[in-house]
């Protein structure tokens, strides 16, 4: 009995830790700024949707959200295609001796370089290409980051797929690319989904490059646009909370849709 009680208490504690910030965010988004800053209430005493309305009517949040969705979709999609092919090549083809076994590490190293180190070169590059404050500039930047991540992730998934299956397909007359597309890629789908989720999460939430590369609602992404609510001497906390709620929805929705793949992807190859 005491074990059961301890389990319940632990569960409630964990739930509280996990859910309290979410509750606080949603609750804050339904309060007025006055209630947030001057009254510190536990729940909205006069619930209002004004903060959500203000986001879209005064703060151009629709543009920010659209930009985030577009940039994330294209950069992740391109990175997945390029990354999957790159990972496949690393796994299936013999590389020059000096590169053997080192490409993955090299790509990982590129991925873990602190972004701020390359921020200024990327800014100058985009400036010279005329891509500042454009979707294309952000897509190119995020794709470059995501490709390294996708290759690194997908490499391990492709290693788990027996080469015999592709060889059998090629013996039956399929081409190398056909075997990759029709046999290997479908088998690696859970890994692809897991990779996509992480890439989407990282891209959708990215702030630093969006801060440097965008200046207007033309291209500002959701996290970047939300920061514009921070004023010199006053911050619109209510709108920021509403922005947080709306900004979280696409990620939650996406994660719910692909969670089955995520679990399969994460455990792929764990047990042999």
């Amino acid at each position: 009995m005491s074990t059961r009680l301890a389990r319940i208490v632990t569960t409630l504690f964990v739930l509280a830790v996990v859910l309290l910030p979410i509750y606080w965010l949603v609750s804050t988004s339904l309060k007025s700024n006055r209630e947030i800053t001057q009254e510190g209430t536990l729940y909205p005493h006069v619930p209002t949707l004004d903060n959500y309305v203000r986001l879209f009517t005064e703060k151009q949040f629709g543009s920010y959200l659209t930009n985030s969705l577009v940039v994330t979709f294209f950069s992740v999609a391109i990175a997945l295609v390029v990354g999957a092919m790159g990972a496949y090549a690393i796994v299936r083809f013999r590389l020059p001796f000096a590169m053997e076994g080192k490409v993955g590490l090299f790509l990982l190293t590129l991925r873990i370089i602190p972004p701020v180190v390359i921020l200024i070169p990327v800014y100058l590059l985009m400036l010279s290409l005329g891509l500042l404050d454009t979707w294309l500039g952000l897509i190119a930047t995020y794709t470059a980051f995501n490709v390294t991540f996708c290759v690194w992730m997908m490499e391990s998934f492709f290693r788990e797929i027996p080469v015999d299956l592709e060889e059998a397909a090629m013996v039956d007359g399929d081409s190398r690319f056909g075997a990759f597309r029709r046999i290997t890629l479908p088998l690696a789908a859970p890994g692809l989904a897991a990779t996509a989720i992480f890439a989407v999460l990282v891209t959708f939430n990215e702030f630093l490059f969006a801060l440097a590369l965008t200046a207007t609602p033309r291209a500002m992404t959701m996290p970047r646009g939300t920061a514009t609510l921070i004023g010199r001497i006053d911050t619109d906390w209510a709108s920021m909370a509403a922005a947080g709620v709306i900004g979280a929805l696409p990620i939650v929705f996406f994660a719910l849709l692909v969670q089955r793949h995520l679990v399969r992807g994460l455990t792929m190859g764990a047990v042999k």
Binding site: Q38, R218, A227, P250
Partner: protein, 437 residues
């Protein structure tokens, strides 16, 4: 044959994806995409601040009636300086007009990245300007010390005042029943009576966070005690006897009569204290002061009045105006200058005053119905005295060094004078390294 109506994962994925794509497409199509318009396009970059609300709500529509196609781009205060400076230096040409914070003018001026607005036809000698405001638009400064390299340079109008933001006193009229407190001693003494009467919890509130916030809060106290920041050779003199007295008063007496967490207070917390009815008095900029009559923003609407900042030796506020500059790389430079000429005309400034914002032309303060009670008080403050921060491109660093030391003293609750000595040495060392002497 029965058709299954079960919601499958596949159908949800398909539906969700379709919905997302359709929404994206529709939103994109429906967006007011900022393509180059046929009208007189002007892209204005601004940082988010309540002081610009009347401009956004009332003046932009007027400008549109005049044929200007205004694109107003707001950003976070903390990033705008770096963004705009990079934009101006690299010639990226993303803006036609920057609404700068006035201490940034020297940095842009020294880099020579802003247009000469005098040559563009804006008359800096117009007597209708508030003199202390238009002075801030010149680089190098027309008066006072100049930094090395600019001693003999011609003073050029590179910015024009945009919104006349400055510090004034906001106080509780049920605590200070005889009107605005005249001195800091009165703020504390009468505030204590208000606390004893249960009307307020604290006589005063201010910002104590290190850096710009604490320096901004201390500055009017410092000025009112008779302090000066630099001599005419850029030697720090803020640690004079007057300066030390002001710092000791600030970290000691004022802290003792402020909320317990004041060391960590920034604008939000001090705003909550005064608007929430806890504090008796505050020195603040217009962005927050404009909320004093709005019941949606304050619990004590009707109980907050405005006055000139308290004095000990004099009553001098810090100015922190919005000031507009046109980058040399502006894509619609001529439109931007034309817009500025229209904006600073007496007629438009009168409209700005009617809208409730503090104007930059004296005639606009005298209109029959200014849109906010703060406006006549702001003029009184300007006439009583209002000073900009020292006009050097290195002010941000100076402010940071001083802010750290003041914050340490505030945490300790004493030692303000010693903090100024330490900061003065650090500032002197820094400016020496920067080639000031």
């Amino acid at each position: 044959m029965m058709h299954s109506s079960r919601l499958t994962r596949r159908s949800v994925i398909k539906g969700g994806l379709g919905l997302a794509l359709a929404t994206t497409a529709l939103t994109t199509l429906g967006l007011p995409m900022p393509a180059r318009a046929a009208g007189k396009k002007v892209i204005i970059g601004a940082f988010a601040d309540g002081g610009l609300t009347p401009f956004k709500q009332k003046i932009i529509p007027l400008a549109k009636e005049q044929g200007f196609d205004i694109e107003f781009l707001e950003d976070e205060y903390g990033v705008t300086l770096e963004k705009w400076f990079a934009d101006a230096q690299s010639g990226a040409g993303q803006y036609d007009l920057y609404l700068l914070d006035d201490p940034w003018v020297p940095q842009f001026g020294a880099a020579n990245v802003l247009e000469d607005l005098g040559a563009g036809g804006i008359d800096g000698a117009d007597k209708d300007w508030i003199g202390s405001m238009i002075d801030m638009g010149y680089w190098p400064p027309q008066q006072g010390p100049r930094v090395k390299g600019f001693e003999s340079a011609k003073s050029t109008l590179i910015c024009v005042p945009f919104v006349g933001d400055l510090q004034t006193l906001t106080y509780r009229n049920d605590v200070f029943t005889g009107g605005a407190p005249k001195t800091w001693d009165e703020v504390i003494a009468k505030g204590k009576e208000g606390v004893a009467a249960g009307k307020i919890k604290y006589p005063v509130v201010f910002r104590g966070v290190s850096g710009n916030p604490i320096v901004t809060s201390w500055y009017p106290v410092f000025l009112s005690f008779g302090g000066s920041f630099f001599d005419d050779k850029w030697n720090p003199i803020f640690n004079s006897a007057e300066g030390k007295a002001s710092a000791d008063f600030f970290v000691g007496t004022m802290k003792q009569n402020a909320p317990s967490g004041v060391v960590e207070f920034d604008s939000d917390q001090e705003g909550a204290a005064i608007l929430g009815g806890e504090a008796g008095a505050i020195i603040q900029y217009s962005g927050n002061a404009l909320k004093a009559d709005d019941p949606a923003q304050t619990k004590v609407a009707g109980k907050l009045d405005f006055g000139v900042v308290p004095s000990q030796a004099k009553a001098i506020a810090q100015m922190g105006i919005f000031i507009a500059g046109v980058p040399k790389a502006a894509p619609n430079k001529a439109n931007a200058i034309e817009f500025l000429k229209w904006y600073v005309s007496a007629e438009t400034q009168a409209k700005l005053s009617e809208a409730g914002s503090i104007p930059v032309k004296r005639s606009a303060f005298g209109i029959a119905k200014p849109g906010n009670r703060l406006i006549p008080v702001a003029l009184k403050q300007l006439d009583a005295g209002a000073l900009p921060r020292p006009r050097t491109p290195d002010w941000a660093k100076v402010e940071e060094l001083l802010g750290i030391e003041l914050n340490k003293a505030l945490q300790a609750g004493s030692g303000g004078g010693a903090a100024l000595d330490t900061a003065a040495k650090q500032v002197k060392d820094y400016l020496t390294t920067a080639g000031y002497y």
